[in-house]
């Protein structure tokens, strides 16, 4: 009954989404306030209904209702509860339902937080959001119904793919979807602006918080996915240039460009058309990613099942929305008021450089991802485009981009002083050069790692140069520095922190060049050198988990004679699917990690193992967390909270009175 309620709620959500797409849009054309006012309640109700449907599916998974095909195929009564709940999105149907849940969530948020927006802009935005919702709910209902029943339910389910039975599953997809799908709001805003033919700095101020929020989640989602792949796949890699990973990187690059161009639009009313274009692009790339992952065009761990009907349906959605938005753009962009031009050496100019390089990066990732598909469709030749391609193309574009980041921060709006900016970066340049010298002396080769590490240090120091100059002018007393630093706008802090995060990630990436990888046949009791540490197997044993059995080795990580830590890499065997999975043993020492993955056990007692020493590897993901922190800082800036500003001022007074 609960399941049928969920199914019915989803059907109702489709009807409401269609209403939300048509009525407010018609209201905005007819200037009918009552029609336009339909948008907010329908958006809220749609979210409520999708949440109900989602709750019903979760309930079915939690109580192991094996009369549902979805539960049979992806659950098992012995599966731990956390994977019963997160397993809801560990399959095609459920993950599409999560997709729609997030989509309607953003629609509802917009409905709530759009009090200050012009009525017509709000009506059009929510109408477009409703249209996207309708398309995807229809996709679920017609091709991927999670509520399908079977006539005679089996006693037991087939269990979730073991590779997905991991805490990462509970975190990675929701974060990624909040990012991916969060761009839908920005897309809807852009479409609404094109339909209404009005665009100004206020529009940019409405859009920026949504862009920032989506970007923060996407950053965290990508980082989480990367860390998950790193510790779960057992080869110590953290990014494989898999098309599915690229699918999340493309909107991230476009979204990062959008963040920066929206800043120009907000401050200087320039780059308007370009910002609109990027808003469309970011979500279009999210849709492209959804298509690549969900259509079965690609085979990967993310493509749970493939069914040609689904591929065609998503392709149709993709064509309608991307094609429609671009057609709208082509028709209406020339009618938009053009923004002003500006001097090349200025903050705006630097942000244009940022945008050019980021979009070029994005374009090359798109090419590298789609080229194999296109080539196969056209010639039948099958190729794979992997790390060598992306390294060759992206490094020469990314390095100048990174080099110019602190410089851009120091250029003033309208007319910047390049020489002055470079002079103010003296400390950063010095830090970078010293870092290069130190890293070269410590590690030597590879050359690229040393250069990148120096660049990373330069970026981290340079990111805070602006803040330092503004907070601590020459000769300022200490107390005034603190109060000045606190008085700086949060968005300035946000930019600096996010840029420093990029620096930290770069340092982590550079340090991969100094890692050590060993494949050894380990004899128990014998210690093997891995970088500065020695690793020895102390014991090998077996044990049973809730729905698996595992063989594990107790390994000691030693430095000299002292044992620093122990880790237990294991090989698990999941009975339900008859699948094995390697569980890596990881010990974190400072910012580096020692990583071990077991291979085969031989008759003479030796065990094959991959042993890695990865210096500074945690920085790769910590940097992303710092980037997200910077984004959150910017998001908290009062400037972005239109309408809230007045209330915020009252609270400050109240605090002062306490």
């Amino acid at each position: 009954m609960i399941v049928e309620t969920g199914h019915f709620a989803l059907v109702l959500a489709l009807a409401l989404a269609i209403a939300q797409a048509i009525l407010p849009f018609a209201g905005a054309r007819l200037r009918d306030a009552s029609l336009m006012s339909v948008a907010r309640p329908t958006a809220l109700a749609q979210f409520g209904l999708v949440a109900l449907a989602y709750g019903a599916l979760t309930y079915a998974h939690v109580v192991s209702d094996f009369s549902l095909v979805n539960v049979i195929e992806n659950s098992h009564s012995l599966k731990p509860m956390v994977y019963k709940v997160s397993g809801v999105w560990g399959n095609h149907e459920g993950s599409m339902l999560l997709w729609v849940l997030v989509l309607s969530f953003f629609g509802a948020l917009t409905a709530v937080f759009s009090g200050a927006m012009p009525d017509r802009l709000r009506a059009d935005t929510l109408a477009v959001q409703g249209l996207i919702g309708a398309a995807f709910v229809a996709f679920i209902l017609f091709t991927s119904n999670p509520f399908a029943r079977v006539a005679d339910p089996p006693w037991q389910g087939r269990d979730l793919n073991p590779i997905l039975q991991d805490p990462g599953l509970a975190i990675h997809p929701p974060l990624l979807y909040l990012g991916y799908v969060g761009f839908s709001i920005v897309f809807s805003f852009a479409a609404a602006a094109l339909i209404g033919g009005r665009i100004d700095a206020a529009w940019a101020r409405f859009v920026r918080p949504w862009t920032l929020a989506a970007w923060i989640f996407l950053t965290l989602g990508i980082a989480m996915g990367s860390y998950w792949a790193y510790y779960t796949l057992g080869w110590g890699g953290f990014w494989f240039w898999d098309p599915v990973e690229n699918a999340s990187l493309m909107p991230w690059l476009a979204g990062t460009a959008l963040l920066h161009s929206a800043a120009v639009m907000e401050k200087r009313e320039a780059l308007k058309v370009w910002t609109i274009f990027l808003s469309i692009l970011a979500f279009s790339l999210s849709l492209l990613g959804t298509f690549l992952v969900r259509s079965g065009v690609l085979t990967s761990v993310h493509a749970f099942a493939s069914d040609p009907a689904r591929g065609v349906f998503i392709l149709a959605i993709l064509t309608v929305f991307i094609g429609g938005a671009l057609a709208l753009f082509a028709l209406r962009a020339s009618a938009l008021p053009t923004g002003g031009l500006f001097a090349p050496i200025s903050r705006e100019g630097a942000l244009v450089v940022n945008n050019l390089l980021l979009t070029v990066c994005c374009a090359t990732v798109v090419i590298g991802t789609l080229y194999p598909l296109a080539l196969e469709a056209l010639t039948g030749e099958k190729i794979s485009v992997g790390a060598p391609f992306f390294d060759t193309v992206l490094i020469p574009i990314a390095l100048p981009l990174i080099f110019s980041m602190p410089i851009g921060q120091l250029l003033a709006w309208k007319r910047g002083d390049l020489l002055g900016a470079l002079q103010r970066l003296r400390a950063a340049f010095a830090a970078g050069v010293v870092a290069i010298a130190i890293f070269a002396a410590l590690h030597g080769a590879p050359f690229l790692s040393v250069i990148c590490a120096g660049l990373a240090i330069y970026l981290v120091v340079g990111a805070f140069s602006d803040i330092a100059m503004r907070a601590a002018p020459r000769g300022a007393p200490l107390r005034s520095i603190v109060s000045r630093a606190r008085g700086l706008p949060l968005s300035a802090w946000g930019a600096s922190i996010a840029h420093a995060g990029v620096g930290l990630t770069l340092l982590g990436l550079a340090a991969t060049g100094w890692g050590v990888e060993q494949i050894v046949a380990m004899k128990p009791g014998v210690a093997y050198d891995v970088g500065p540490y020695r690793i020895a197997i102390e014991d090998v044993a077996s044990r049973a988990g809730p729905n698996y059995a595992e063989t594990y080795a107790v390994m000691a990580v030693r430095e000299g004679d002292a044992t620093l830590a122990r880790m237990e890499p294991a090989k698990r065997f999941y009975q339900a699917r008859r699948m094995a999975r390697t569980e890596a043993g990881i010990v974190t020492l400072g910012l580096g990690q020692v990583y071990a993955a077991l291979g085969e056990q031989h008759e003479d007692g030796t065990i094959d193992a991959r042993l890695y020493y990865k210096p500074l590897v945690l920085l790769i993901w910590l940097g992303a967390v710092v980037m997200a922190l910077g984004g959150a800082c910017s998001l908290a800036d009062r400037r972005l909270r239109i309408g809230v500003a007045a209330r915020a001022r009252v609270t400050t007074h109240a605090q002062a009175a306490e």
């Binding site: 049979i72 031009l341 090349p344 030749e381 190729i383 060598p388 193309v393 699948m579 390697t582």
Partner: protein, 150 residues
């Protein structure tokens, strides 16, 4: 700077970035892509040894031999042609006789494929799509993606 000058700088910058990207992409596509073949395609192609390739197929039953150390020799087949593969290193969890694998490496002059990575995919239902296509063409395809549906 005049309005025209500013516009020229903007357009020039955009074109330069674009040119840089196109150049890099073309350069990288020439050298850094790897072709994927099934053993029978490879047999037809008569390629010169040394080129980087990716071969997908099934691990032939009864043809896996483990040498000293971590040397492994096995045969990848698509039921029409066989390819001998030599590999040194750890085999993935799902490497089993009769299972689909993708090997990356180069063809040595003696006709043995020297693999430097062996991938067995994460799901046992998974088979490299190209191999599945090849098997379907030959009519020896056993399962298909809908087997999970009841």
């Amino acid at each position: 700077m005049t309005r025209k000058g500013k516009r020229l700088v903007l357009i020039g910058g955009a074109l330069a970035a674009l040119a840089l990207a196109v150049g890099l992409v073309l350069f990288a596509l020439r050298d850094n892509i790897v072709f994927f073949y099934t053993p029978s395609e490879l047999a037809q192609k008569q390629l010169a040894p040394g080129a980087r390739l990716r071969i997908g197929g099934l691990v032939k039953e009864g043809a896996v031999t483990r040498g000293d150390g971590r040397n492994v020799a096995f045969v990848v087949t698509d039921r029409t042609s066989d390819l001998r593969v030599a590999y040194t290193g750890l085999l993935p969890d799902l490497f089993r006789e009769g299972q689909g694998v993708v090997v990356d490496g180069t063809l040595a002059p003696d006709g043995v494929f020297r693999a430097d990575s062996v991938l067995a995919k994460h799901d046992e239902r998974y088979m490299p799509r190209d191999v599945a296509d090849a098997l379907k063409k030959q009519g020896v395809w056993k399962g298909d993606g809908t087997e999970a549906k009841q």
